[in-house]
């Protein structure tokens, strides 16, 4: 008798928008190590910072919402001590998860940015929030045709895509309170058509500065594109929810813009000079003057709040076509990940089978695989820990 072949266990792959798809687009090899291999990074600065800001904003909203439910609305701005108490709570939570700020400077910056976010953004944002931390899932057909046959290793016909959206807002334009809201005004400004009277906007916080518009690897997408696809995909997944209204826009909030550091200022100045940012200061205006006049090592100038808010917000229009394009882009990414996985299974090697599709130097500079990565030649041997002797 001939034995049968053991049936493969049927399991759909699940890809998260941020952890998997954006992680792979940042660098395939790094994604293999950090996400699939579960190897922690030695420099989780971004992880701490991003989660810290998210945590503080979420907790602040919960408190605001409690006060709203209790009939005594208590919107920010709040006293410094009150925001600091929330910061302490979140810091402790992250420490229990093994995430720590790298030094007092970073912690201090985190606290100040969190305070700015709660007190400058919160009053506009919190009243619009319908739900926070909303889990979204959807399934897509696995793009099998894009995976060469020799690298197909699953039975699955679909993949699941998951994500958590930071905030879903409901906007009722006929309501005067919404009409006066600065966030709503900014959103409406960027929408060409007359939106419906009731609509929703998906908001995603990023614990980073606004990226330049066009910088990407040769022929590859830029962070600008990638974050745009992310919000479009959120909109697509959100539409399936019963309590959803028409999603007309997504807003990405680059929280670091509220309180730039010296290195942010260097980047801003360079991008303004090279025309690489889409939010240029008005020629001859205060922001323009401050940016151009600033020299490294000088104190960070207080850029006008209007300019900082404008830089913080990126409104992404949502249309059926833009959603479709983004979904197809992500299908493509899933296919690329599946191909890498299939190659690794077949060849038994990590380095030669995963894409080294890195977009920016800073990703490589902070990567723990940089000294043995075949595509990075700036460091080929690990350097020992060292700091300059203080004179």
């Amino acid at each position: 008798m001939r034995l049968v072949k053991r049936p493969a266990i049927y399991s759909l792959p699940s890809y998260s928008l941020t952890g998997d798809l954006l992680g792979f687009l940042r660098c395939g090899l790094q994604y293999r190590y950090n996400r699939i291999g579960q190897l922690p990074s030695t420099r989780p600065v971004q992880a701490w910072f991003g989660q810290f800001i998210h945590g503080v904003l979420e907790e602040s909203y919960r408190r605001y919402n409690e006060s709203r439910k209790g009939g005594r609305v208590d919107p920010p701005p709040w006293k410094k001590a009150r925001v600091e108490e929330i910061c302490e709570l979140i810091k402790k939570r992250l420490a229990a998860q093994g995430l720590f700020p790298w030094g007092a400077d970073l912690e201090e910056l985190g606290y100040r940015r969190a305070e700015a976010a709660v007190n400058e953004l919160g009053p506009e944002l919190f009243p619009l929030i319908h739900r926070a931390e909303v889990r979204l899932t959807g399934a897509r057909v696995l793009p099998v045709s894009k995976i060469p046959e020799e690298y197909r290793f699953r039975e699955a016909d679909r993949y699941e895509v998951v994500g958590v959206v930071d905030v879903i807002t409901h906007v009722q334009l006929s309501h005067p309170e919404f009409r006066r809201n600065r966030l709503v005004q900014s959103i409406l400004k960027d929408l060409p058509d007359n939106p419906p009277d009731n609509f929703e906007v998906i908001i995603d916080y990023k614990g980073m500065r606004r990226p330049p518009v066009k910088v990407g690897s040769a022929g590859g997408p830029s962070f600008w594109d990638i974050y745009g696809w992310q919000i479009q995909t959120y909109a697509h997944l959100r539409k399936a929810h019963e309590d959803s209204l028409p999603v007309v826009a997504g807003v990405i909030l680059y929280v670091n813009e509220l309180l730039p550091t010296a290195s942010d200022m260097v980047n801003l100045r360079d991008e303004v000079k090279a025309g690489l940012t889409d939010v240029m200061p008005s020629a001859g205006g205060e922001a323009d003057r401050l940016i151009r006049a600033w020299r490294e090592k000088a104190p960070i100038p207080a850029l006008p709040i209007e300019y900082r808010l404008e830089r913080m917000m990126r409104v992404v229009q949502i249309t059926p076509q833009s959603i479709q394009t983004s979904l197809e882009e992500f299908d493509e990414v899933v296919a690329r990940i599946e191909v890498c996985r299939g190659k690794e299974l077949q060849h038994g090697s990590v380095l030669s089978t995963w894409e080294k599709n890195v977009i920016d130097e800073s990703t490589c500079a902070a990567c723990d695989a940089r000294t043995f990565c075949p595509s990075y030649d700036k460091e080929t041997m690990p350097s020992v820990p060292a700091i300059r002797v203080r004179s």
Binding site: M1, R2, L3, V4, K5, R6, P7, I9, Y10, S11, L12, S14, I36, G37, Q38, L39, P40, T42, E59, R62, R63, N65, E66, L89, K92, R93, A96, Q97, G98, F100, E133, T137, G138, A139, A156, D157, R158, E160, A240, H241, E242, E344, L345, G348, S349, V350, L351, S352, D368, A369, T371, F372, M381, P382, V384, P385, A386, I387, R388, V389
Partner: protein
């Protein structure tokens, strides 16, 4: 939305219709409590997935209102995959159905099947506490087992030298089988952790346990209480929870109506593998079901309950009808799934015979449970095979020859002339598995066991094995070398290591072996260029650059990744990668429990501080790896490679099936020795049964009615029932000749009942090869 007929018509476009018994389960109304007793291979997952889809499509239950839990992450993923895949295929078929109304099409277009909530009970509890919490409260931060154990040891057992408490020893020793063998501090810690878990899992009246203690145990129980109080406080102060606390917290909030928002969403609960549930989980399910008017479906099989040692209480399943009635005021509809689609007629007959072999075992099975039935397509198959040899070496050699002939040769010919051979297209040794009570390669006396001998014999034939739990990590050369380098870089020459008084000698000896392996390698010609310089800089804490100095604090991860650079087998080989993850995972755990956040401190003015940071790394990072507490993360490995023979414990094999299944029924038993009686013919109850007898009197279930030895027999029958029901086509029992049916070694796996009769002695079901 649609009718049942329309659902089945659409389903038939991609799958065969369910059989009558499956239909009976699928078609019950949503609010009907349902008790599905599903034998092995009877299409349990199919039935559960299809019931969920029927609830969505026919009964209009919103997908987000359906909560389905199962026992393992993998089983939950499989269930979810089935629901989604079939759900989308149904949608496609229904969208093509022109006879449906426009409104129905509109409803179908809006349906979001992804919102069905699936997961293990722990993942669902975590999600509930995260998503439905009040402002100012923390989402749960779950600790892994190592962190929990470390805090229990450090904050509980070591505090005030409680580990030296003789009363506590007297109390704990019976839970260790009454022996001092292997009874050290870590073992005491493990036993206390089990009590902690069961305190919650069994819903123990803890105050009663303390108050009504026998006079001789009062002091010990009080000490135990202090240890657990301190442990709990250490977790709480860090904002952490372990799994027992997590589930208890959910139950507390359900009972105090703090989760009403969640309960308003949920309309139907479905629980798979219910035979392995415990009182705490049962209470959670009943609380949720009360809010759903009793819409609770449970699925399981009492014959496959294997997790008593982890707190599973099979009586909750066998007695579900009464318990459900008491809790929900509704007697559930009982459905037996008995049609087996997995195995041949010969295998099914063998399994049925085995389940009814022991008269006393029938007392604990679900009442009126029918035998498994053959599916109409089942083939007769080959007879049940047995391979028994005088010694383990011969057995391994002959077994390897058998496998070689089946999977790489022209097939294995049986006495009746039939030939067993791998599948013609793509058949390989991955179609087979060896199931054992333990896949460890060495026994307690460091003697080789069948898994090792078979690995060696198969290698001669060019066949590899896949046995991630077979080898101790400490024996893997790359782990030894890498661990040794870390030790030497952190603590050159072991100066700090030698200052420890309470590190067991075995760990110190392994440290020395590792260090030597590293020192030999660094000076060998095989060492990678630059490794010695890099390691020397760490040894001397000297960056070797003028104008630069060593930082005051460096994460040990930086050292790990620095060294990884020199070892392609760790950064390029997927298998080595799994070993590297062991080191990095343990670094994270060390950071969670330690004072130095897993950093190496270097304070020339205060060397004691730097030494303390390194000692912490030795104690909380490297020693646990050496002690065997830390295992590889099997989720990172590709499960069951096609070109290797899988060697699994019977527990690991649950829920799986293999065309050819080999079951080791007695390769360890040369004689009727008392030491291994618990694995084949128990003379008394084991530690899990003693634990039950200790705690159950303080629970709503009361003291167990059966003697410990009887429960030990019940557990063994269940274990081999699971093993014998895994094969699709061929099953081969292997062991030493002493364990042949009717031989000198009584063994429930070879046809013995607990009265000491071997039914297979006169009528053996085995054909010897």
């Amino acid at each position: 939305m649609i009718t049942l007929d329309e659902l089945y018509t659409a389903y038939q476009t991609f799958r065969s219709l369910p059989n009558n018994e499956q239909r009976e389960a699928v078609e019950q109304l949503p609010k009907r409590a349902l008790f599905i007793v599903a034998g092995p291979g009877t299409g349990k997952t199919t039935c559960l997935a299809l019931r969920i889809l029927k609830l969505i499509f026919v009964d209009d239950v919103p997908p987000r209102s359906i909560l389905a839990t199962t026992f393992t992450v993998k089983a939950a993923a499989e269930l979810r995959s089935r629901i989604l895949s079939w759900g989308f295929q149904l949608l496609e078929a229904l969208q093509k159905n022109g006879s449906l109304s426009a409104r129905t099409h509109e409803q179908l277009a809006k349906l979001d099947i992804n919102q069905v909530v699936t997961g293990t009970i722990d993942s669902i509890c975590e999600r509930i506490l995260r998503d439905f919490r009040e402002a100012g409260t923390q989402p749960p931060i779950l600790v892994d087992d190592y962190v929990a154990k470390t805090l229990l040891l450090r904050e509980g057992l070591l505090k005030n030298k409680r580990y030296e408490d003789t009363d506590l020893d007297q109390f704990l020793l019976p839970l260790n089988g009454g022996t001092r063998f292997g009874y050290h501090v870590n073992k005491k810690n493990d036993l206390i952790q089990t009590i902690w878990d069961r305190r919650y899992q069994d819903q123990v009246d803890w105050r009663g346990f303390l108050r009504r203690a026998p006079a001789g145990e009062r002091a010990a129980r009080a000490t135990l209480d202090e240890i657990l109080e301190d442990y709990q406080a250490s977790l709480t102060s860090r904002g952490m929870m372990d799994f027992a606390m997590l589930e208890q917290e959910v139950l507390n909030r359900l009972q105090s109506e703090q989760l009403d928002e969640f309960l308003q969403e949920i309309k139907v609960i479905l629980v798979d593998e219910y035979q392995d549930t415990n009182l705490l989980q049962e209470a959670i399910y009943f609380e949720m079901a009360k809010a759903c008017d009793g819409a609770l479906t449970v699925v399981g099989d009492d014959d496959q309950s294997l997790y008593r040692f982890r707190g599973a209480t099979v009586e909750l399943f066998s007695d579900f009808e009464r318990r459900c009635n008491d809790a929900l005021g509704q007697r559930p509809k009982k459905v037996f799934l008995k049609k087996n689609y997995r195995s041949t007629k010969n295998v099914i007959r063998f399994v049925n015979g085995y389940a009814t072999l022991d008269r006393a075992y029938q007392e604990v099975r679900v009442r009126s449970k029918p035998p498994l039935e053959e599916s109409p397509k089942a083939e007769q198959g080959v007879p049940i095979l047995g391979m028994f040899r005088a010694d383990c070496n011969t057995l391994a050699g002959d077994l390897a020859n058998f496998l070689q002939r089946v999977f790489r040769g022209c097939g294995f010919r049986l006495a009746d002339g039939s030939v067993i051979q791998a599948a013609e297209e793509g058949g390989d040794v991955g179609d087979c598995a060896l199931l054992c009570s333990s896949p460890q390669e060495y026994n307690f006396s460091e003697q080789p066991r069948l898994p090792l001998l078979l690995r060696q014999e198969l290698r001669r034939h060019g066949i590899e094995t896949f046995n991630p739990r077979g080898q101790d990590l400490t024996e893997i050369p790359i782990i030894q070398l890498f661990g040794g380098l870390l030790l030497e870089c952190l603590d050159p020459g072991g100066v700090l290591q030698n200052q420890f008084r309470n590190i067991p000698q075995g760990i110190t000896a392994t440290f020395q072996l590792w260090r030597q392996a590293a020192l030999d390698y660094v000076d060998s010609p095989d060492a990678a260029d630059g490794l010695k310089d890099y390691a020397s800089a760490w040894v001397n804490r000297d960056p070797q650059k003028r104008g630069w100095e060593w930082p005051r604090s460096v994460p040990v991860l930086e050292l790990i990744y620095g060294l990884v650079h020199f070892f392609p087998e760790l950064h390029d080989d997927p298998e080595g990668h799994v070993y590297l993850e062991v080191f990095t995972r343990q670094v994270s755990a060390c950071g969670q429990v330690g004072k130095f956040s897993a950093r190496v401190v270097h304070e020339p003015d205060n060397p004691t501080l730097g030494e303390a940071s390194v000692k912490e790394l030795i104690r909380d990072f490297l020693a646990p790896i050496v002690s065997g507490t830390i295992k590889v993360n099997e989720d990172l490995m590709e499960a069951f490679p096609r070109d290797r023979l899988s060697i699994l414990s019977i527990h690991q094999s649950k829920g799986l099936e293999f065309p050819l299944t080999i079951v080791d029924v007695g390769s360890d038993f040369r004689s009727n020795h008392a030491a291994h009686a618990f694995k084949r013919f128990p003379r008394d109850g084991g530690p899990p049964h003693v634990m039950e007898d200790l705690l159950r009197p303080y629970t709503s279930l009361g003291a167990p009615a059966r003697f410990p030895v009887n429960r030990a027999f019940d557990d063994l029958y269940r274990q081999y029932f699971v093993a014998y029901s895994r094969p699709q086509e061929v099953i081969l029992l292997v062991g030493l000749t002493t364990t042949l049916p009717g031989g000198t070694v009584p063994n429930v796996a070879t046809g013995w009942d607990r009265a000491g009769n071997c039914a297979w002695a006169s009528r053996t079901p085995l054909v010897q090869i």
